[in-house]
Amino acid sequence: MLASLLTILLAAQSLPPEVVKHVVAGTTAQREGRYEEAIVEFTRVTVLAPELAAAHVNLGSAYLRKGDYAAAVKPLRRALDLNPGLIGAHQMLGFALLASGYSVEAIPHLEKAESADGLGIALFKAGRLIEAVVRLHAALEKRPNDPDLLYYLGQASGMLSKQSLDSLQAGHPAAARTHQLNGELNAIQRKLPEAEKAYREALRIRPELPGVHLQLGEVYASAGQWDKAEVEFRSEARARPGDAEAVYRLGHALLEQGKVKAARAELERADGLVPAMPETLYDLGKACLMDGDLASAEKHWRALLAIEKETQLAAQAHFGLAGLYRQQGQAEKVDAAMREYRRLRTR
C-alpha cells in the first residue's frame, strides 16, 4: 500500500495541480484516520484521472481501512483492469473479496499475491481443505501462534478429519475402524455403554487393532471401573510393549486401585520407554510415596518440577512434596512446598 501511495505521489508530479491537491489531501486524511474524508478525496482523483490505476488502488485501500470491504472491491478491480501487475492490489482485492464472503473469487488474487495466510483461509472457506491445511501450515511458520491461523488450521483439520471419517462410515459401515470411530463418538458424548459396545465390536472383527484396548480402557476409567480399565490397558500394553502411553495408563489404573507395587513397576516401565513424561513422573511420585519410598517419590516429583514449573501438575507435585516432607517432619520444606503450591493454585 505504501508502494502504491509512493507511485501515485511520483505520478502526481506530472499530474495537474488540482489532482495533486486531492491526492495530498486524501493521503493526509487516510494517515490521520479520517477515512470518509480520504474516500471523498480519492474518489475525486479517480474522476479527474480515471486511467490512473494507483488512484483506484488508494480508493480501495481507504475503503479497506474503513472496514467497508464490499465497497473496496470495485476500485481495486478497476485498478487491476488498468494494471494487472499490481501485486498489492491483488492482495487487497483478495482480502476484500474474502471478507465479503467471495472466497472462491478471492483465491486467484491471493495466489498472485502469494499471501499464504489469506489464501489458506480462502481455501478453507471454499472447502478445499487439503490445500488449506498446507497453506495455513506455511503461514504459521511465518507467524507462529497467530490465533486466527491456529483457529482456521484447527477448523480445516477437523473438517478434513470429519470428511475422512464420514467416508469411512458411509463406505465401510461394518469395518472394525468404523466401529472404533463410533466408539470414539459415543465416548465423547459420555455414552459409555454404547462406546463400550462399539469398541468391543471393533475388537471382535480385528482383535489386533491398535489403540482400541486403550480406548476401551479409557471408557472404563471414566466410569470409575478401574479393574476393567486395567484389563484393557494391560491388553494394549502387552500387544504394544513399546507404547509408553498404554503402559502409563496401566500404571495409573493400578494406582487408582491402590495396587501400589504393580503400579510402580508399570510406571517405571513407562518412564523407561519415554523418559521425563510429566504425567508419568507425577504418578510415579505418588506410587513411591504410597510404597513408603520417600526418597524416590521426592526424586520423581523434583524431576517433574524441572520440566514443568508453572502448570497445574507442578502445583500438584509441590503439594505432594509438602505431604512427603510433613511425614518426615521437615517443617521448613513443608512451608516452602505449600507456598509454591498456593502460588500456582491461585494463578
Partner: protein, 543 residues
C-alpha cells in the same frame, strides 16, 4: 474401680455375614416419607435435606427413630419464607420402637409436630445436654434451629429460647454435641452451609436448569455454643475462634485426633478446603487441616465434602477421617499418622476405586460383620436430580455403598444389588440389640431404608456409657476394646445422629479387655469382659 454392668442382651452371633447381609424391608409402622418439594426453580435446600437420628428417647432399651422433614416449596414466585410445616406431610417424625420390632408414630404425643412454618428441616443431633438421663434433640433448618428438651415423660418441649441456641439464622446443616472444655456438660457445634435465602435463590444452567454449585453463594461461619450447665448456652463462636473462618459446612464429627485428651472438630466443607479445628485446651480452637494434611485431595484439589466420619478404621488406635464427596472426586480417607498429622489413603485403602463416580452423603465406619474391622456404609446419589442429562454416566439415584474392611482395605460387599435411591442422611445403631449394627438411611423425597443387619459370625460387645464427673453420655471418652478404639459420641455422617452406644466387633476373641479414658481423666479398665452383650458402664467416682 467400680464396675457397674447391666447385661441387657446376650445373643449368640448369627450365621456367617454374607456381604450385604441386610434385610431392607420396611418395619411395620415406619411410614415416614421425606418431603422436599423440588420445583423448577431448583432451590438448593430441596436437594440437601434428610436428617435422621437413632436414640432411645424413652429409655426402654430400644432405639427409636427421628426423621427431619423438609417443607413445602412452591412454583409461585417470589418464593415465600413459608414451608407449611404445620401440615402433617411436612412434620418431623418420631417413631417409637415396639418390643416386636415394629414402630409407632409418636410425633404428636411427643410434642414434636409443631415445627415452625418458617423452618425447612435439615439435620438433627441427639444427646443428653442437661445430664438428666433423657436424650434431647437439636434440629437444624434453613430458618430457625430448635432444641427439644426431653421431659422424661415421653415428650419434648421447645427449650430453644431459654437455652439460647436459636440464634442461628439462615442455613444450618449438621450439628453435634460434644464436651470441648471437659466441664461435664455437652456443648453444641452447628455447621452452617452458606449465605443463601429463598430471595437470593436462583437456578444455574441454560437450557437445562440445575442446582447451582456452592461457590455461587457466599461462605458462612459455623457456630459453637458452650453449655453453662444451667440449661443455657453461651455463643462462643467468636471467642473460640470457630467463627473466624467462613466455610460451606455440611458435615461435622468429633474425635481426639492427637490424643491430648481434648476433642477436636472435623468439618466437611463443600467445594473448598476441609476444616480441622484443633482444640487448644483453653476454650479456643486453631484450624489446621492444611497443615495436618486433611484439607484437600492427594492432588491438592478441594473436594465437595458432605458427610464425615472420624473413627479408627485400621485399628492402629488413632481416629481417621472419611469425607464423602461428589462423583469423580473420590471419597477422601485421611489416615491419622499420629501427632496430629494425616495422610491421604483413599487409593491404598480401596476407597478411591469404590467411590470413583459416586456421590456420597451420610457415611460411617461400623463393624457390620463383627470381624473386628470397621466396614463402610455410605448413602449415595448425585446432588443434581437431572445429572443424567448432563453426564449419562452419572446417577442422581444410586445404591448405597457397602464395603467390607479386610485388614484395612475395603472391598465391595457381595450380595444382591441394593435399590438405587437419592440417599442422604444415615445413622447407625443396633435397632434390635442383637449385636449386629443396623442403619437407617433417609431418602430425599422418599421413604427411608432400614438396613436390618442379619448378623455376622463374629463376637461383639456394645458399651453403654454413663458419665459421672464427665458428661452423662460419656461423649469424648476414648474407648479401647481389644486394641480397637472409638471415641464416644453420636455426631458424624450427614445431618444425622448415631446410636450413642459403642459397638465393637470382636471376631473370634473370647476374653475382652476394655479401657475407657473418660473426659474427666479417669481411666477405667475392665478385664475378661464377656463378649456378646450390651454392657452398661458407669464412670467411677475417682481415678
Amino acid at each position: 474401680m467400680r464396675l457397674a454392668t447391666l447385661v441387657m442382651c446376650s445373643l449368640a452371633a448369627g450365621a456367617q455375614f454374607a456381604g450385604s447381609g441386610f434385610d431392607i424391608a420396611a418395619p411395620a409402622g415406619l411410614d415416614f416419607r421425606h418431603s422436599n418439594s423440588p420445583t423448577s426453580h431448583k432451590h438448593l435446600i430441596a436437594a440437601m435435606g434428610g436428617g435422621v437420628a437413632l436414640l432411645d428417647y424413652d429409655n426402654d432399651g430400644l432405639l427409636d427413630i427421628f426423621f427431619v422433614n423438609g417443607g413445602e416449596l412452591t412454583e409461585s414466585l417470589p418464593a415465600r419464607e413459608f414451608f407449611a410445616r404445620s401440615t402433617p406431610k411436612y412434620w418431623n417424625r418420631l417413631y417409637r420402637q415396639n418390643r416386636d420390632g415394629s414402630f409407632t408414630d409418636v410425633t404428636k404425643a411427643a410434642g414434636l409436630s409443631a415445627s415452625s412454618n418458617a423452618n425447612y428441616g435439615m439435620g438433627v443431633a441427639a444427646a443428653d445436654y442437661d445430664n438428666d438421663g433423657h436424650t434431647d434433640l437439636y434440629v437444624t433448618s434453613y430458618g430457625r434451629n430448635v432444641l427439644y428438651r426431653n421431659t422424661g415423660k415421653g415428650s419434648f418441649t421447645d427449650a430453644t429460647p431459654r437455652a439460647g441456641v436459636g440464634t442461628a439464622t439462615g442455613w444450618s446443616t449438621s450439628a453435634g454435641f460434644f464436651d470441648y472444655d471437659k466441664d461435664g456438660w455437652l456443648d453444641l457445634f452447628v455447621a452452617r452451609y452458606m449465605e443463601w435465602s429463598l430471595g437470593s435463590s436462583h437456578w444455574c444452567g441454560s437450557a437445562l436448569r440445575v442446582y447451582c454449585p456452592p461457590a455461587t453463594f457466599p461462605a458462612v461461619a459455623n457456630l459453637l455454643y458452650r453449655n453453662r450447665g444451667d440449661g443455657t448456652f453461651e455463643d462462643v463462636s467468636a471467642s473460640s475462634g470457630i467463627g473466624a473462618l467462613r466455610g460451606r459446612a455440611l458435615g461435622v464429627a468429633f474425635a481426639d485426633a492427637d490424643d491430648d485428651g481434648y476433642p477436636d472438630i472435623f468439618v466437611a466443607n463443600d467445594g473448598m478446603e476441609q476444616f480441622l479445628f484443633h482444640n487448644n485446651r483453653n476454650g479456643t480452637f486453631t484450624e489446621r487441616a492444611v497443615d495436618a494434611g486433611a484439607a484437600l485431595s492427594d492432588d491438592g484439589k478441594p473436594v465437595s465434602g458432605m458427610g464425615v466420619d472420624f473413627r479408627d478404621y485400621d485399628n492402629d488406635g488413632r481416629p481417621d477421617i472419611l469425607v464423602t464427596t461428589l462423583s469423580r472426586q473420590k471419597y477422601a480417607l485421611y489416615h491419622n499418622d499420629g501427632a496430629g498429622i494425616f495422610s491421604y489413603r483413599s487409593l491404598e485403602s480401596g476407597v478411591a476405586a469404590l467411590s470413583a463416580i459416586h456421590s456420597g452423603w451420610g457415611a460411617g465406619f461400623a463393624d457390620l460383620d463383627n470381624d473386628g474391622w470397621k466396614d463402610l456404609l455410605v448413602a449415595q446419589g448425585h446432588v443434581m436430580d437431572n445429572v443424567e442429562k448432563i453426564d449419562p454416566s452419572l446417577r442422581s439415584q444410586e445404591p448405597p455403598l457397602i464395603a467390607m474392611n479386610r485388614g484395612g482395605r475395603f472391598e465391595r460387599a457381595a450380595g444382591p444389588a441394593l435399590p438405587a435411591v437419592a440417599g442422604r442422611g444415615l445413622a447407625f445403631g443396633d435397632l434390635d440389640n442383637d449385636g449386629a449394627i443396623d442403619a437407617v438411611m433417609s431418602v430425599l423425597g422418599g421413604p427411608p431404608i432400614v438396613f436390618h443387619n442379619r448378623g455376622g459370625g463374629g463376637r461383639w460387645l456394645t458399651l453403654s456409657l454413663r458419665g459421672g464427673r464427665s458428661n452423662r453420655d460419656g461423649f469424648g471418652a476414648r474407648v479401647f476394646v481389644n486394641g480397637q478404639r472409638q471415641d464416644a459420641g453420636a455426631a458424624g455422617s450427614y445431618l444425622s445422629s448415631n446410636d450413642k452406644r459403642l459397638h465393637f466387633g470382636l471376631g473370634s476373641a473370647a476374653p475382652v479387655k476394655v479401657e475407657i479414658r473418660w473426659p474427666s481423666g479417669v481411666v477405667q479398665r475392665l478385664d475378661n469382659v464377656t463378649a456378646n452383650q450390651i454392657l452398661g458402664v458407669a464412670e467411677p467416682e475417682a481415678r
